[in-house]
């Protein structure tokens, strides 16, 4: 009986240790991906700034063409939301915190009469939102841990087309910003219209006269060409930061799981040792008891 319990515990310890090997491997893989993802963020940054800068400069120079494309709309009626999460789980609260933020925003806006259209990146978004009965207009999957610029282009084209066709008044992105290896925050920011201050030089109090910058071709045409590039670059930046945050979240979650496995093994081993000791003690008791009984029996035979 007691030996049976020992065997069960031994099996559990073995299974916990096998799990620990997996979580440890995932932790190491995630850690190595973080550095690569960080490098990709910093490699993409100059392009992103240059395009935002150029668009900001053109918009500042042609206020008429700018109109709908700049600033924060007071009461947008139709809003498109891009939510960026991971394809896989096992990364703590990473997916959930982004989706919860998006869901809250949609719920709040819908109650005040705004129309929301959801576009998502990441397999986890699809299953979560479908379960909640939240319709998703377009979903992209398969590249959350290593987004390429071509992926970003696909996503961006959906956003740009809806906006330029006038189907939506505002495009927002809910994603995780990678501020540093230690800090990542869920953030909602406006992609379109272009928020003021998105470009660095746009706000400089230089008060340049209009038309100071030469435009080739003219403003409206150039904007038509630049706007999609700006959205692509911004989406690409968001995807890269989300990927880096995903790897960081996964590394943290897996480190915790590995530690927990160690703890569990220790506890189980203690219980197992006690069970074995118990069974040994019981066995000795039985032997001593048996020997004593035999002795008493032979004594009583002699007495007769």
């Amino acid at each position: 009986m007691a030996g049976g319990q020992e065997r069960i515990l031994r099996r559990r310890i073995r299974s916990v240790q096998a799990t620990k090997k997996i979580t440890r491997a995932m932790e190491l893989i995630a850690a190595s991906q973080i550095v690569r993802a960080q490098n990709r963020i910093s490699a993409a940054a100059p392009y992103q700034h240059a395009v935002a800068d150029a668009l900001g400069c053109v918009l500042a120079d042609s206020p008429v063409a700018g109109g709908r494309l700049v600033g924060v709309p007071d009461a947008p009626e139709k809003v498109m939301v891009l939510a960026v999460v991971a394809d896989r789980g096992l990364c703590g609260g990473y997916n959930f915190s982004v989706l919860r933020a998006a869901e809250r925003m949609v719920a709040a806006g819908s109650s005040s009469g705004q129309q929301y259209r959801l576009v998502t990146v990441g397999r986890k978004a699809v299953s979560y939102l479908r379960f909640r009965g939240q319709p998703v207009e377009r979903s992209f999957t398969g590249f959350s841990d290593r987004p390429s610029f071509a992926d970003a282009r696909q996503v961006a084209s959906v956003l740009t087309e809806s906006f330029t066709a006038g189907e939506v008044d505002q495009v927002l992105v809910v994603s995780t910003r990678f501020l540093s290896a230690g800090t990542q925050v869920v953030e909602t920011r406006q992609l379109l219209p272009m928020p003021l201050g998105a470009s660095v030089r746009h706000e400089e109090p230089e008060n340049r006269p209009l038309g100071f910058t030469e435009l080739e071709p003219d403003g409206p045409e150039l904007i038509e060409d630049l706007l999609p590039r700006y959205v692509e670059a911004a989406v690409y930046g968001s995807l890269l930061e989300a990927a880096a945050s995903e790897h960081t979240a996964r590394q943290r979650a897996m480190a915790a799981a590995t530690e927990n496995a160690d703890e569990l093994t220790k506890t189980l081993r203690r219980v197992m040792n006690r069970a074995r000791q118990d069974s040994v003690t019981t066995e000795i008791m039985e032997i001593v008891g048996g020997a004593e009984a035999l002795r008493q029996m032979s004594q009583s035979i002699e007495e007769i």
């Binding site: 392009y47 150029a54 610029f149 080739e216 071709p217 630049l226 590039r229």
Partner: protein
Amino acid sequence: MATFPIRLLTPESVLMEEDAEAVFLRTVEGEIAFLAGHIPLVGAVAPGMVRVQHADGSEERAAVHGGFVRVDGDSVTIAAPVAELASQIDVERARRALEAAESDESVARAQARLDAAAAS
């Protein structure tokens, strides 16, 4: 002659970051050359070749597939969704792409690569 900083950027990397004496490229409206002290400009770049002339007379070429050029202060920044330095271009692949190209745009792209590679 005076030099100025030039940067060639793609979404994945910074391809070129150096000082140049002159930069030649084609916008959608035609050929254009930048020397130091050019007036501020934002232009849409046509698929084609970018030539960068250094102070020592050497020249570097790249194929760009669309994108933008921005001149501000005294620096030139070219941001292209796709760009390749002449030294990195696979001529065989570009030639095959040119043969297989069906649209005007893909012809222009392949031709731009070949031009940049042949000239270097």
